[in-house]
C-alpha cells in the first residue's frame, strides 16, 4: 500500500462508536496558507439535536477541545464557523443543527528549535498528536459527548485554509473574516455600538454577541439577533449595549456580524478594545474606535 495512503489513514482517526446526540465525528489536518496548520473537528449532530457556537445563547455550552502536540507546537483558540441563529423553545440558540467543522489553529512556537518529533515524517508537521473534545449536544435534554482522536502523523488531508483561518468557507459554512479585511467599523455612541460596513450584495445584516464576561447586549424581545439595515450597498447595525466587557485588558465589545441568511454567506468577527486603548475620539461625545482588531 502506498506510504501516502497509510499516512492518510493514520492522519484521519477512525471515529469510535458515536455517542448519543452525535451522529459522527472525525478529525482532519489542514494546511493554513502561510505555513501554519489547523486541526478540524467535524461533528455531525444526530437529527433533531444541536451543538453550540462559542456563545451558546440562553443555555448550552460551547465545545472544549484540548490538543496534545509535540514540543515546539501550540494550539490557538477554536475558530467557530457561522452558526445557525434561532429561537428554540422561547430561548436564544446559537449553534449548529447540522454538520459543523470546528477549527483549531496550530502553529510552530516562534523560536522553537529542532524537529517537531522524531516520529514525524517531516519536521514541519505537528506529530504525534492527540485530541480530546467535550461537545455538548442537546435536544429535549443534554448530553456531554467526549470525542477523541489521535495520530502518529499529521498529513494534510483537507483543503488549505485561508491565512489566519479567516474568511472563506469550510464545509458549506463561512469562516469569520476579520473586521479590518471586511471593511467593518464599530463605534461606541453612548448606550450603543454602531457597526457599519459593505454589505457585499446581501440584503440582510444582523449581529449576535460573543460570550464576553460583563458585556451586556440588549436583544429585541423574542429575537435572537440585532437586525440591521442595508442601503446603498452598506449595512448599519445599532446594538444597544448595557455594559462593556469586564476585563479592562480584554475586549470591550465582541460578536459576529452575519450578512445574508445562508450558512455560506459571509460573517465578520468583531472585537473592539476598551476605549482606554482606542485612539482619541474624532468628535465630542463619541469614541471613534478603530476597526475591530483580531
Amino acid at each position: 500500500m502506498p506510504v501516502a495512503a497509510i499516512v492518510a489513514c493514520l492522519a484521519i482517526a477512525a471515529p469510535p462508536a458515536a455517542p448519543e446526540g452525535i451522529g459522527g465525528h472525525a478529525a482532519s489536518w489542514h494546511r493554513v496558507a502561510g505555513g501554519d496548520w489547523a486541526l478540524v473537528l467535524t461533528v455531525e449532530p444526530t437529527r433533531g439535536w444541536h451543538v453550540y457556537w462559542q456563545n451558546p445563547g440562553d443555555s448550552g455550552s460551547a465545545p472544549r477541545i484540548e490538543l496534545a502536540l509535540p514540543r515546539g507546537w501550540e494550539a490557538g483558540e477554536i475558530r467557530f464557523p457561522r452558526p445557525d441563529v434561532a429561537m428554540h423553545d422561547d430561548e436564544v440558540l446559537y449553534g449548529y443543527e447540522s454538520r459543523v467543522q470546528y477549527v483549531v489553529p496550530v502553529r510552530r512556537i516562534p523560536g522553537a528549535s529542532g524537529a517537531a518529533s522524531e516520529a514525524s515524517d517531516s519536521p514541519s508537521t505537528p506529530a504525534p498528536w492527540s485530541m480530546r473534545a467535550r461537545v455538548m449536544a442537546c435536544k429535549e435534554r443534554c448530553v456531554m459527548a467526549e470525542l477523541t482522536a489521535s495520530g502518529e502523523s499529521a498529513a494534510a488531508t483537507g483543503p488549505e485554509l485561508p491565512p489566519g483561518v479567516a474568511g472563506g468557507t469550510l464545509g458549506g459554512r463561512s469562516l469569520p473574516d476579520t473586521a479590518e479585511r471586511a471593511g467593518v467599523t464599530a463605534r461606541h455612541a453612548g448606550d450603543r455600538f454602531v457597526i457599519e460596513g459593505p454589505a457585499h450584495g446581501h440584503g440582510a445584516a444582523r449581529f449576535i454577541p460573543a460570550d464576553l464576561p460583563g458585556m451586556e447586549v440588549t436583544l429585541p424581545l423574542g429575537q435572537p439577533a440585532v437586525e440591521g439595515t442595508v442601503a446603498d450597498g452598506r449595512f448599519r447595525i445599532e446594538v444597544p449595549t448595557g455594559a462593556l466587557g469586564a476585563d479592562p485588558a480584554g475586549p470591550a465589545f465582541a460578536g459576529l456580524v452575519l450578512l445574508g441568511n445562508r450558512p455560506g454567506d459571509p460573517c465578520v468577527r468583531l472585537v473592539v478594545p476598551h476605549p482606554a486603548k482606542a485612539p482619541p475620539p474624532a468628535k465630542g461625545g463619541e469614541s471613534a474606535t478603530p476597526r475591530g482588531a483580531n
Binding site: 451558546p56 440562553d58 443555555s59 448550552g60 455550552s61 423553545d89 422561547d90 430561548e91 455538548m136 442537546c138 429535549e140 435534554r141 443534554c142 448530553v143 456531554m144 460570550d211 464576561p213 460583563g214 424581545l221 423574542g222 469586564a246
Partner: protein, 214 residues
C-alpha cells in the same frame, strides 16, 4: 339561478366562512401564544435590591420549607438538574462542595437550598436528594415540579445561582462562577458579610436550560 348551483354556492360560502372562522381564532391563538411566550420572560419578579420572591416548596421528605424560615440569614439558591451534564460536572469536580465550604468559612450560618424545577422529576423527589448525597453535598433539595418558583426567580439554566441577603433582598443573580477561579456565590457571600456591595450583582448563568413544564 339554478337551485343546485345556489345550494353549491351557499355550501361553498359556508365552507369558506367556517374556514375563516376557524382560521381567525387559530391565528389569534398563535398571536396569543407568541404574546404569552413573550410575557413569560417578564413573569420573573426577582430583582436585585428588591425582596427576593417568597416561596414554600417541599423537600425530598415531603416537608414544607419556606424562604422565610431562614430570615436573618444569607441564603444561596442553586437550580439543579441531575440530568444536566454541566450541573453534574460542577458537582462531580467538587466545585459545589468547595463553594459551600468557602461560603461557610466566611459565614457559618449561610444556608444552601438546591431547587429542581425539572418537570419530569416532579414525581421523583428523592432523585434530587440522592444526587446531592451521591456528591457528598449536605444540603436541602427542594422540588419545584410546576416551575412556579423557578419562573418567579427567572431561573434559566442549571446551574443558576441566587444569593439572598440576610435582610431578604436579592443580592446576586447568575452564574456559579466565571468558568475559572472566581466563584461568584462565594464573592457575594463575602461582600455581604463585609457590608459591601455585591459586584457583579448579575452575571449570565450558563448550563442546560431549565426543563420547565410546557
Amino acid at each position: 339561478m339554478n337551485p343546485l348551483k345556489l345550494i353549491a354556492t351557499c355550501g361553498l360560502v359556508a365552507a369558506v366562512t367556517a374556514g375563516v372562522a376557524y382560521a381567525s381564532p387559530a391565528q389569534d391563538n398563535d398571536k396569543k401564544e407568541k404574546k404569552d411566550k413573550s410575557a413569560q420572560k417578564s413573569d420573573a419578579s426577582a430583582k436585585i435590591g428588591a425582596p427576593a420572591p417568597a416561596f414554600t416548596l417541599k423537600d425530598t421528605a415531603g416537608k414544607d420549607v419556606s424562604l422565610a424560615d431562614f430570615a436573618g440569614k444569607i441564603v444561596v439558591l442553586e437550580w439543579i438538574n441531575p440530568d444536566c451534564p454541566v450541573c453534574r460536572e460542577k458537582m462531580e469536580d467538587g466545585s459545589v462542595a468547595k463553594m459551600m465550604a468557602d461560603s461557610k468559612a466566611v459565614d457559618p450560618n449561610v444556608v444552601f437550598l438546591f431547587i429542581n424545577s425539572t418537570h419530569y422529576m416532579a414525581d421523583k423527589p428523592a432523585s434530587s436528594g440522592d444526587y446531592l448525597a451521591k456528591n457528598k453535598v449536605t444540603a436541602t433539595a427542594l422540588v419545584d415540579g410546576d416551575g412556579a418558583v423557578g419562573k418567579a426567580y427567572g431561573a434559566k439554566t442549571t446551574p443558576h445561582c441566587y444569593v439572598v441577603a440576610a435582610d431578604g433582598t436579592l443580592a446576586y443573580d447568575g452564574a456559579i462562577d466565571d468558568k475559572g477561579s472566581t466563584n461568584y456565590v462565594v464573592s457575594a457571600v463575602k461582600a455581604l458579610k463585609e457590608g459591601k456591595a455585591v459586584s457583579p450583582a448579575t452575571t449570565k448563568a450558563y448550563g442546560c436550560s431549565v426543563k420547565y413544564k410546557k
